[in-house]
Symmetry: C2
Subunit: 120 residues, 2 copies
């Protein structure tokens, strides 16, 4: 079965979403991520959506779920690489992504996670 | 047009290949990567193929081309996350991927790039 890869980068995990998400794939990602957070004791999760041109409410909900899941496992979530058009759509849809920090790109997101995990 | 995202991680670039590659996409990736290496002065490129269950000669050639391209731009290439079945196929196809270093996962690949770029 197709799966979204989760890469370990030091104490953080990186998920790059490039493909169209559907129910099964989103569920698999959530399960894999929870398992990886536990196994690696990751302090943060970076979700890169720079290749997504469209983010609908399904993806929005999935991101919120991942953020909630990470939070109860003591990891922070940062969403990076959002295209301007996606940001506009999210605002228009009223998807404010509560509990999800954002950063312009992966590098800034990583820096944000580092600052937060040292002050936590 | 669909594009493979290239993420900057400090002085390295990370490319996660998840989708089926075709000519146009491979060409676009090579162009984007060359442009990003120049712009960011990256010292290394990590190519993650952990979600690929099949690597054919087309992908093999693309990876070799990327490695060659990176090399003349003074960046090293490390291929990470290869599944065992893919490794077997590559050997059977006689694709030895000259000039491409490999590492088990992204973290080890990053460590390899760090060691190499400090001793270079």
């Amino acid at each position: 079965m197709e799966r979204i890869p989760i890469l370990r980068m030091g104490e953080f995990l990186l998920v790059t979403i490039q493909v169209d998400m559907h129910d099964q794939l989103a569920l698999a990602l959530q399960e894999d991520l929870a398992e990886r957070i536990r196994k690696t004791q990751a302090r943060g999760v970076l979700i890169d959506i720079s290749s997504l041109e469209i983010v609908d409410s399904f993806i929005g909900r999935m991101i919120s779920t991942i953020a909630g899941l990470s939070k109860i496992m003591d990891a922070q979530t940062v969403l990076v690489g959002m295209q301007p058009a996606v940001a506009i759509t999210l605002v228009e849809l009223g998807l404010s992504l509560p509990g999800v920090a954002t950063a312009l790109d992966a590098e800034r997101g990583m820096a944000l996670l580092r600052r937060r995990s040292t002050t936590a």
